[in-house]
């Protein structure tokens, strides 16, 4: 399941990240913000009109667009 499909407020784990789908700068920032296989993740908010997603990664809340979220695979909750 991809992060942009993860139902809201269900705790899951990042299975893998397809770094090749991301631009270098995006990949770097995603790593800096703590995205990594095995980290706990929970989608918290979807903004209107298919706007960005806010999710809890580790102890941080991160906002990212759906296009980037689609590169993150999560375990089905």
């Amino acid at each position: 399941m991809r992060l942009d499909q993860l139902p809201l407020r269900q705790v899951s784990t990042i299975a893998s990240i397809d770094w090749s789908r991301l631009a270098d700068s995006e990949a770097k920032r995603l790593r800096e913000l703590g995205f990594d296989a095995g980290v706990a993740i929970e989608a918290l908010h979807h903004s209107a009109m298919r706007g960005p997603i806010a999710c809890r990664v580790g102890r941080m809340t991160i906002a990212l667009r759906r296009a980037q979220a689609a590169a993150v695979s999560v375990e089905a909750p």
């Binding site: 209107a48 960005p52 806010a54 906002a63």
Partner: protein, 617 residues
């Protein structure tokens, strides 16, 4: 004697670094720029227990030492002693957020590995406890191999312990170690950070997570944007409603000063210069200090509370529609206070084309320098009527002008993104920090800095422009029966540009007012003041009247509305153009900005004037 030892304050964004910097240095701060790059340099002095001074430099908040952004490059270069205009630090003070150790420890590990004398400030320890986290500080210190001190920067807790530890660390300040190469595999560092965080942290039961609960309301797909719109509306209403009393006090002060000058000086050149030029000219600008401070206060509080990045989250979809990212929202909102810090804040945008577009449209955001102009014209031509209780017509018109600027900016962005700034990805990824009570002391310091900058401008740029303008409008002396403002040097300059602006409904006085407004928009107000008080001649009674009354007699409503429309778009501020040149490294983009804004302003004023005239207003 050695210079005062230098300690560099480093850490992730949102670690509470600035709060700690303020707690340690108080108001003894200097803010400037690193030479050649547009990264803010903030230094301050603190005294150790034994009275020895330490120079503390607050480096930009960054996530790593990977030099991909200007902020990170400066941080790295300062630490390695390669940054021009900065000496090598004697020691590092690394700030980490205790509630977010997994992530902040990664950067801390990278910094500790440099091998410089280092202290880690475990900040926001109170929030961690509130969240149900128990951190074994001694164990953390063993894992990192450096002293760890618990702090609560917002309440100045732990600063004494920090001072003591720093005194030990820097010694006499003569030792300057050379840093080792920094490890740069983020993934490896991150795993170590997570492992250490897990070993030193004991999470107790479920926490009361306020941020989560508040976000469920404020980030609601429907409710969130409505709350944001209401908040913005309240902000702009407050700018008008709350400023009335202080504006009246300033007006009283100005009248008293003018009166005192009139009484103590003989009639003539000097008195006219002092009263018409200096006191009334500068006074008419300073009168808007309350409104500017109210606007800044709102922006500072929203930023400090953590709401501003939520606004970016809510706005991202809309910004993406014109090819920008939600990240552009923060620089653009800052541009409501002043385009200069707004344009400088675009450095946080990674994508160069996103950034360029944001820079080019930032001048369209209604900066506080337009407020004096808007306030005078609205005050003169829009009746102070309540539409519904608590909502005044004047406030609605002001809100409309802000909206016009925003729509203009969005339209410009959409066009620019398809033409001169085409291409580029333009992602949006950012951290939503926890909500916090703003630290009122820090808000007060920032407000004071803005007020100081504004008053310094009033005392220098605006004062000299006002005086020069007074001279230009007063000489040569007009013969009897000829209007002074027509005959003077300024009048003749205005006459040459008048043909350009006459079609859009501008009269001679307005053509005259927009010239000095290039130095600072708010000068338009004192320019109008000068023009119309000079035309009033020596009649003391009329000379004392308010500018708005005078304007109501001299301008038609379509003309006034056209003037407002002009100021929404016009490239009326040379400092902004200078900053664009600095930020884009060349004359191409500032010249482009001047050109496109002029065309936009002329068309907008024209359309307003022609429409209003044909409607018979």
């Amino acid at each position: 004697m050695n210079p005062a030892p230098m300690v560099a304050l480093v850490g992730n964004p949102n670690a509470g670094k600035s709060a700690l910097f303020n707690a340690l240095t108080g108001a003894r701060q200097k803010v400037g720029n690193y030479p050649g790059v547009t990264v803010e340099r903030k230094t301050g002095r603190m005294a150790l227990d034994d009275g020895r001074p330490i120079e503390l430099v607050d480096l930009p908040g960054t996530y790593s030492l990977d030099p991909s952004s200007p902020d990170e490059a400066v941080t790295r270069d300062v630490l390695f002693g390669r940054q021009e205009g900065e000496r090598k630090p004697n020691a590092l003070l690394v700030v980490v957020d205790a509630t977010n150790l997994d992530n902040h420890l990664r950067f801390a590990l990278q910094l500790v590995a440099l091998g410089l004398p280092t202290i880690v400030a475990l900040n926001m320890i109170d929030m961690a406890r509130r969240d149900g986290l128990e951190i074994d500080t001694a164990a953390l210190s063993r894992e990192l191999g450096v002293p760890v001190i618990e702090t609560v920067a917002v309440r100045r807790a732990g600063t004494d312990a920090l001072r003591t530890a720093l005194a030990e660390l820097v010694g006499d300040g003569s030792r300057v170690a050379t840093p080792a190469a920094a490890p740069d595999d983020i993934a490896v560092l991150q795993r170590r950070a997570r492992a250490i965080a897990a070993r030193v942290t004991v999470a107790r039961s479920d926490s009361r997570d306020w941020t989560r609960r508040i976000d469920r309301i404020l980030l609601d797909p429907v409710g969130g944007p409505i709350i944001l719109a209401v908040l913005m509306f309240v902000m702009f209403q407050a700018v008008f409603a709350w400023s009335q009393a202080p504006i009246d006090w300033l007006a009283d002060l100005q009248a008293w000063l003018a009166d005192a000058a009139v009484k103590s000086l003989p009639d003539g050149f000097l008195r006219s210069l002092l009263v018409d030029g200096v006191i009334n000219g500068v006074g008419s600008v300073v009168a808007f200090l309350p409104q500017i401070l109210i606007l800044f206060a709102f922006i500072l509080v929203l930023e400090a509370s953590g709401y501003m990045v939520r606004a970016a989250f809510l706005m991202d979809r809309l910004m993406a529609g014109v090819g920008l990212s939600g990240r552009a929202f923060i620089p653009l909102l800052s541009s409501f206070a002043c385009a200069i810090p707004g344009i400088m804040a675009t450095r946080s945008i990674d994508d160069p084309r996103d950034r360029l577009t944001t820079i080019l449209i930032a001048p369209l955001m209604t900066c506080s320098a337009r407020l004096p102009v808007y306030a005078v014209i609205i005050g003169a031509f829009i009746p102070a009527r309540q539409i519904v209780p608590g909502v005044g017509l004047q406030g609605v018109v002001l809100f409309g002008l802000y909206v016009a600027g925003i729509l203009g900016a969005m339209g410009a962005a959409a066009v620019l993104r398809r033409t001169v700034a085409r291409g580029g990805g333009g992602g949006f990824m950012l951290e939503l920090p926890k909500y916090q009570m703003p630290i009122w002391r820090d808000v007060a310091i920032a407000l004071w800095q803005r007020a100081y900058v504004f008053l310094r401008r009033a005392g220098t740029v605006i004062l000299s422009v006002t005086v020069v303008l007074w001279l230009l409008t007063s000489f040569p002396q007009a013969p009897d029966g000829v209007k002074k403002s027509e005959y003077s040097i300024a009048g003749r300059i205005a006459s040459t540009i008048e043909p350009i602006v006459r079609p859009i409904g501008f009269n001679h006085g307005m053509a005259l007012a927009i010239i000095p407004a290039m130095a600072a928009r708010e000068v338009a107000v004192s320019a109008l003041q000068t023009v119309y008080s000079i035309d009033a001649g020596d009649d003391e009674k009329i000379g004392q009247e308010r500018l708005s009354l005078r304007l109501r007699g001299a301008w038609s409503l379509p003309t006034a509305l056209a003037f407002l429309a002009w100021f929404v778009f016009a490239p009326q501020c040379l400092s902004t153009i200078a900053v664009i040149r600095r930020e884009t490294n060349g004359w191409l983009w500032p010249a482009f900005t001047l050109g496109y804004l002029f065309v936009l302003a002329w068309s907008a004023a024209g359309i307003t004037f022609w429409t209003a005239t044909s409607l018979g207003l």
